[in-house]
């Protein structure tokens, strides 16, 4: 997702450092996985310089983390950034989860309290540094005041202020009460990067010890006194309504307590999930499928194809690309398509709710705490301050938990249940009621000169505008910046470029963000098509790209690094080939990926090796960056080789991991990640591995088969 504005970034940063947020006091246990965010009055001697940090007289330094942990390592990277400027060890910082509060914890890049879009480090790198530096400067000022010395004669290390000339020392805890009485500094100096002790060094993740022994509580693990467990059947067709229900057999299942019928969903409430599942299977439900009763995937594609015939809104224009294309010596035209995709996070959608007379409590895993709180408020009519959200570790996010449909549904069900109820979706329900990566349909063309160099490039992206629904102010002038992300940043030096966007909604499935967002579809199109140009020019794919990167030195550097590490050009066994892809987008990270694949005679694709070279600017925790890219690549392989959600009679045809295939251990390639040392601003890393993978694989399949696959998933078919 794109930035809201850089100006908000600065404002949020200075607010965080400016001590305007003294009233923010949140409490909770010291654990990472606990049900954080209850308002508890901390020790009155605590020093709370801003919304993010609290220094207690007991020496405890607490970071209130606005971002949620879904495996990407923010519970470690966020404290590292704070600890660096505060001059404490990472082992001296404990974290607490921020409560839902957009006024204090808005992600400055996204506009609300949100974890997504590979934005956490990008968004909080400066605010957390300023927060730490402000707190440090106030603690130093307190020590200097106490000793009647010049603050500049004091230094700090591991939570202790030392007066250098005399060697006097005082701990942060001992200074906290005095520091709390001082005015917050209007401006603070940040460390020179040469003095970094933590940023850029590999740190052990703080959330993992409890994840290897079963202690970590995910949303689905919540247990409350008197809690019932429910599972659901929602209308299999979007927009369908319940026509009739016979629940007599379901109610006879031992352990089933109640059947809740709403207009678009039926829930079986039971003592345990087994009874609920059996009860659900015993229901006789008839749905009125509504207007989408007969829809198939082909209908969706027809609609997109028709929309693609007309010009769209111009999202990037440079030169007169249409004229240049018509004049070109050689012209290439192509249509690329990518399918609907489910997220299939391993923790199925779930949410526990207790609706009381005077308020409502929600336990779940969400990437959007304030949106979850708001929907519970809207459904119940309770004001926000009567809706408590307990957020948990997320068993995978991948964009699925940027949506709160499962929270809304659970609250609606809980309104009919006496006491707390945990609503757990089956895997089938999860795959068939996802908020899917949209189907996109792109028309792309290029003109080449007599030497095969591109002189014109036109790219028309056709698909829904997720941001028009999700963040309406960002959808401006008819352009969804996410839908064209990666397409408009085209790094190649081409004299005439035009990128258009045609908004086309097909309201037969809910669509939303999927790991890799816009670039996951656009990079497949752009980087496959660049490969087509290279082939038309009879040029080596790496050399061809290289020749177009004269004005993009960081892009060329990662390309060279990847090519060298992957042994580009060195011989491979028969049946194997390499493919390359280069990525640059809103995440502000440069990636080159080279995949080595084997295609069997039957047309099965196996990925043997993937090499990524990454320039993501300043790195906080290098091992986590590598892990994110490894994981992103594997997520991308699943999607590129097999991922496809199809519709028949308005219904999603896939249901479980048997027909929505994902990569397994025996299919997993060797993955190498090479990080470029850089002092540029941090870029996003959580999604780029996914976005770079499909084109690298498609290009590698072409290298083996000479078949250009313009549609995902990649199905080369039997080889001649």
């Amino acid at each position: 997702m794109p930035a809201i504005s850089r100006r908000e970034f600065i404002l949020a940063g200075s607010a965080a450092a400016g001590g305007l947020l003294l009233s923010c006091r949140v409490g909770g246990g010291p654990g990472l996985a606990g049900v954080g965010a209850e308002a508890v009055d901390p020790s009155p001697t605590s020093f709370v310089p801003n919304a993010y940090v609290r220094v207690g007289s007991d020496e405890r330094v607490t970071l209130i983390v606005a971002q949620v942990e879904m495996g990407q390592g923010v519970y470690t990277s966020m404290p590292m950034i704070l600890a660096e400027e505060l001059d404490v060890g990472l082992d001296q910082v404990q974290i607490e989860l921020a409560p839902p509060d957009d006024s204090l914890y808005t992600n400055p890049l996204l506009g609300d309290q949100e974890t997504g879009a590979s934005s956490s480090v990008r968004a909080f790198y400066l605010p957390l540094r300023r927060a730490g530096a402000a707190a440090r400067s106030m603690l130093v000022a307190a020590a200097a005041e106490q000793w009647s010395v010049d603050p500049s004669s004091c230094r700090t290390e591991r939570g202790v202020v030392t007066h250098s000339p005399t060697g006097r020392t005082s701990s942060y805890g001992a200074l906290a009460a005095r520091a709390a009485k001082l005015p917050a500094p209007a401006e603070v100096a940040l460390k020179d990067r040469k003095d970094f002790r933590l940023i850029g060094t590999p740190a052990k993740r703080l959330d993992t010890p409890d994840k290897v022994n079963g202690k970590t509580q995910f949303g689905i693990d919540v247990r409350l006194p008197g809690m019932k467990i429910a599972t659901v059947a929602a209308s299999p067709v979007l927009g369908g309504k319940l026509a009739s229900l016979d629940d007599s057999e379901a109610k006879a299942v031992p352990g089933v307590r109640q059947v809740v019928r709403l207009d678009d969903v039926v829930a079986v409430v039971a003592d345990h999930m087994w009874a609920a599942k059996q009860g659900l299977a015993a229901l006789v439900i008839r749905w009125d499928d509504g207007p989408h009763a007969r829809v198939t995937t082909a209908d969706v594609v027809r609609g997109l194809d028709a929309a693609s015939q007309k010009p769209g809104v111009v999202a990037r224009s440079q030169g007169d690309a249409v004229a240049a294309l018509s004049r070109a010596t050689k012209k290439l035209h192509a249509v690329y398509q990518v399918p609907f995709l489910a997220h299939a996070a391993l923790e199925p959608a779930n949410c526990t709710v207790h609706v009381r007379k005077d308020g409502c409590e929600v336990w779940t895993g969400t990437q959007v705490l304030t949106r979850a709180q708001a929907t519970a408020s809207r459904v119940t009519g309770f004001p926000l301050d009567k809706v408590v959200i307990h957020n948990h570790m997320l068993g995978g996010g991948f964009g699925r938990r940027l949506e709160y449909d499962y929270v809304t549904q659970a609250v609606r069900i809980a309104q009919h249940v006496d006491g707390p109820v945990k609503v757990v979706w089956t895997r089938e329900e999860d795959i068939q009621h996802d908020v899917y990566r949209p189907y996109y349909f792109d028309r792309i063309a290029a003109g080449l000169d007599e030497l095969g160099r591109p002189v014109a490039w036109t790219h028309r992206v056709v698909g829904p505008a997720i941001l028009a629904r999700y963040a309406p102010p960002v959808f401006k002038d008819g352009i969804d910046p996410d839908a064209v992300d990666g397409a408009v940043q085209l790094v190649y030096d081409i004299p005439a470029v035009q990128v258009e966007y045609v908004r086309h909604e097909e309201p037969v499935l809910n669509t939303g963000f999927w790991r890799g967002v816009g670039p996951t579809h656009n990079m497949f199109v752009v980087e496959s098509f660049v490969d087509e140009l290279a082939a038309a020019a009879k040029a080596d794919p790496v050399e061809y790209r290289r020749g177009l990167l004269g004005k993009a030195p960081r892009a060329r550097a990662v390309l060279d690094l990847a090519a060298k590490a992957a042994g580009w050009g060195s011989p491979l066994p028969a049946g194997r080939g390499r493919g390359v892809a280069l990525l640059y987008s809103e995440w502000d990270t440069y990636v080159a990926q080279i995949a080595e694949v084997e295609v069997s005679k039957k047309g099965e694709v196996r990925v043997h090796r993937v090499v990524c070279a990454v320039d993501c600017g300043t790195v906080i925790n290098p091992d986590t960056v590598k892990a994110q890219i490894e994981g992103g690549v594997i997520f991308g392989i699943s999607g590129a080789l097999w991922g496809e959600i199809t519709l028949k009679n308005g219904r999603v045809q896939q249901s479980n991991f048997t027909d929505y295939r994902v990569l397994r251990m025996n299919e997993s390639p060797e993955i190498e990640v090479h990080l470029v040392q850089s002092s540029e601003a941090p870029g996003g890393v959580g999604e780029l591995g996914t976005a770079a993978t499909a084109p690298a694989l498609a290009n590698a399949v072409f290298a083996v088969t000479r078949k250009r696959l313009r549609q995902l998933p990649l199905r080369p078919g039997p080889l001649a």
Binding site: H272, M273, L394
Partner: protein
């Protein structure tokens, strides 16, 4: 009433004999470390041990566990193989979201308990029933080799 032996403790449960062990563990006994992922033995998140053998508890009737030693993620660290696997997982920073990791660690621990020096093919055979959506496969492979005290048989393992 059935009597189960879970992590060394005898426990009476009043549940139907055909109820999958997964839901007995999670919803009745309250051991939530064992996870629900698919319900059809396709993802391995629910893996526990019966007498040391890895099984998918989402399709295993609780009656099949009577008279056997049931071991879950909460106690696997008490076994030599489980302890080594957990440590290797931390040493190589395998875990991301962590949701599948209970099942992964149970599968890996059973492998190492029966095969002290598994090859990559052995690892594939033992681990391919466990899905990880975060994509920690290369690190898990390396961590199993590490727990076994052996270098990877190939460069595989990233």
């Amino acid at each position: 009433m059935l009597t189960l032996t879970i992590n060394g403790n005898a426990q009476d449960v009043d549940v139907p004999a055909d109820m999958p062990l997964l839901w007995v563990l999670r919803d009745v006994v309250g051991l939530t470390g064992t996870k629900f992922g698919c319900g059809i033995s396709a993802c391995g998140a629910c893996t526990v041990h019966l007498d040391g053998q890895p099984i998918r508890s989402c399709i295993t009737p609780v009656a099949a566990g009577v008279g056997k030693r049931i071991t879950t993620i909460e106690a696997i660290g008490d076994t030599p193989a489980g302890k080594r696997v957990q440590q290797a997982w931390l040493d190589l920073e395998v875990v991301q979201c962590g949701y599948c990791q209970s099942g992964q660690i149970m599968s890996a621990s059973a492998l190492l308990a029966s095969n002290s020096n598994p090859s990559d093919a052995d690892i594939d055979a033992a681990m391919s029933g466990n899905i990880c959506r975060c994509g920690t496969y290369p690190r898990m492979r390396a961590a199993i080799h590490r727990a076994a005290g052996s270098a990877p048989a190939s460069a595989k393992g990233g």
